[in-house]
Amino acid sequence: MTENSSTRTTTSRRGAIRTLAGAAAGAATMPLWARYTHAQSAEPIRIGFQVHRTGIGAAYGRWYDRTTQAAVKLINEGGGINGRPVEIVAEDDGTDPKRGAEVVEKFANQHGCDIGFGTLFSHVVIGSAPRAGELKLPYFVVSEGHHVASGMLNRYTLQPGITDVKSQVQAMAPYVTQNLGKKVTMVFPDFAFGHDHRDFFTEAVKREGGEVLAHIAIPPAETSFTKYFPKIPRETEVLYHVMVGPAVLTFVKELGEFFGPQRPEMFGFIDSLEAVAMDSPGLEYLDGTYFWEGMPRHVQADQSDHDKFYRDAVGVDDRGASVSDPTDISTYAHMFGCWETLHVVKEAMETAGYAGPGDRAALVEAVEAMTDMPHSRAHPQGAKVFNGKTHQVFGHQYISRVEDGRLVKVHTTSIEDTYYPDEVDYTTRAL
């Protein structure tokens, strides 16, 4: 390869000026960097909200955002926390664990947030939690994952606003085996969330004297499901199904097409139909089937004042849709977790006399000391019991039956039904 020296000479001067100009522009942004770094203010309580605005969790993220805004509005109208207003600093994590960890760093080191909050998808929680622990940033997740209570995470990661999948799944087994049938076939996504269902439910069904005939794992990114359904054994009495992701509606519709009028009893997790209208075409066959619900989406005959208050505050109608757009269905079975978590944070900060980041350890200890959380405006989903050792809350679970396109609550588990032996004691770890 040869070089043209004359070209080099003529372009270098112009190039040098451009380089200098570029460097000057870069230098000019330095004060901006500093401003970002020191943007923390002593006044409001700053809550870093790690929100799934884009990526696979976007539908959940939108409703988590609305619920969070409604809870913060209520808390601020009631005088804030320790007399200080609450400010939400939202950052999109793209439902990605790497970006999630970066967002946690941003909360702690750039925005000067007091806590991090609001993460739903398990892989983002697990990817972000190590950084929260290292930065000693109390990290309140709203994820349902068993990761917190399993002992995988750290002292600074807590889940006080939503129950975990292990307790949910095992609490369903007695009802299913006693009322629907003892021979169960499970259909679930072939990744960690589905494996949790497979493992915990199979174990619980055995304890109840039932039997899981087959496990049918659906690979991720699958878009058509008909080829899996013939694997369902003929003697199946109950089909247990759970699915997440963009293809949930296709999954449920194809399941209906496969069975036609002759179907076994069906029990599903509402995750399969979160943010999907129950009266969508093709879902008529779901009448008479059962669903786990974290919180009943449709208004029930015995609706509590707390549910009514919460529903009005967030802007959700009787059928679980946005009051401003009936086609915009909420993720009602999960999003209460944001509301309840923020109220737990308020209570714990007030107990700990939280004044600033120096009191973060005291805040964690204050949450760990919590136990009973009565059914109230702060806990509209129902009463709960927090386990300070495992950093996990336990609460009632609901089973609904679809009747004329409505989810009608037919069973409420006790909180004790959801208990399992502690797998960790975070309080023994350093703060």
Binding site: E3, R8, T11, S12, R14, G15, A16, R18, T19, W33, A34, Y36, T37, R53, T54, E91, D92, D96, P97, K98, A101, E102, E105, K106, A108, N109, Q110, S122, H123, I126, G127, A129, P130, R131, G133, E134, G145, H147, M152, L153, N154, D190, F191, A192, F193, H195, P219, P220
Partner: protein, 314 residues
């Protein structure tokens, strides 16, 4: 000063600058730069195959993940300490890259892209399939106690920064050394005209094989170190977007330049970081910036610098 000395001074100067920045950067940017240096090492590995050898791989996430899981699984299931776990990550990277190279190098051009993409996807699905050990998409945490290398706690910000700097310095200097040696010059010749190189009597397959193994191993080293420094191993790092990222970083920074991967990674990281503070459509801003750069600086930032100013840049 000769070109070789100038380039040594420039690249050595960058490492010295990064060393000095450790003492002055605010916490947030300090943490970011540690992350950027590890990711830039990944991009340096990618650049050896794409920028210097002219082979466009869409499957480098496989190598990154091979290193990450080779390190993480041995800690998680075999109780390895970080040093042997890092070696395990590197060995996994060598084996996987050599295996894929032997198969994929039988093709070229678009077919090479598709074969590497497919193998990377197969690798991703393998991680999910063996969820019992890998915890599938959720991944697993490398606990703080397991991240202490020779008494040095890698979860400490300063230690993390220096560990990232050491990795980056090794990768950068390896790349610089490689491209100044006959082997590297032959790779460039293969990129420019493989037929002619073969006609001159070189074994181009052996050179491409070597390039792919070096590239894959550097990528695996970056993956292993990333998992160890940030305490998380997960399947998302094996997904297709992590094959696309190094391509974007290298294209932005300048393919076939030693500095380009670092510049590209730095630029892209802060582009996303700043734009996400302005709008939720931050990927749109990143996309527009990419299009503009491709239109007006098709050789990337460092490539433009070389074209206009520093012709001696390696």
């Amino acid at each position: 000063m000769s070109a070789a000395r100038r380039s040594l001074a420039l690249h050595g100067g960058l490492i010295a600058l990064l060393f000095a920045l450790q003492f002055v950067l605010p916490d947030y940017h300090h943490g970011n730069l540690a992350r950027i240096m590890v990711l830039a090492s990944y991009a340096v590995g990618y650049n050896i195959l794409f920028g210097y050898t002219g082979l466009l791989s869409l499957g480098h996430a496989l190598f990154f993940a091979a290193g990450m899981y080779g390190m993480g699984l041995t800690i998680q299931h075999l109780g390895f300490t970080p040093a042997p776990a890092l070696v395990a990550g590197l060995v996994t990277g060598i084996v996987v890259s050599a295996g894929l190279a032997l198969l994929a190098l039988r093709t070229s051009g678009v077919a090479f892209m598709i074969v590497t993409l497919m193998f990377a996807q197969a690798g991703y699905l393998t991680i999910l399939y063996f969820g019992e050990y890998t915890r599938g998409d959720e991944g697993f945490v490398i606990q703080q106690a397991e991240r202490v290398l020779w008494g040095i706690d890698l979860s400490d910000p300063t230690n993390r920064y220096f560990a990232a700097l050491i990795l980056f310095a090794i990768c950068l200097m390896t790349c610089l050394h490689l491209v100044q040696r006959p082997f590297g010059k032959t790779l460039v010749a293969v990129r420019e005209n493989e037929e002619r190189v073969r006609m001159l009597g070189y074994d181009t397959f052996a050179h491409k094989l070597g390039a792919m193994i070096v590239s894959g191993t550097i990528s695996a080293a970056a993956g292993a170190v990333y998992g160890l420094l940030f305490g998380y191993v997960g399947a998302s790092f094996a997904s297709v977007q992590y094959s696309i990222f190094p391509l974007l970083w290298v294209l932005l920074g300048g393919a076939g330049t030693v500095l380009g991967p670092f510049i590209g990674t730095l630029f892209m990281f802060y582009l996303i970081d700043f734009s996400s503070g302005i709008t939720t459509a931050y990927m749109l801003i990143a996309g527009v910036a990419l299009v503009v750069l491709t239109l007006f600086a098709p050789q990337g930032l460092t490539g433009e610098l070389r074209r206009r100013l520093w012709r001696w840049l390696p």
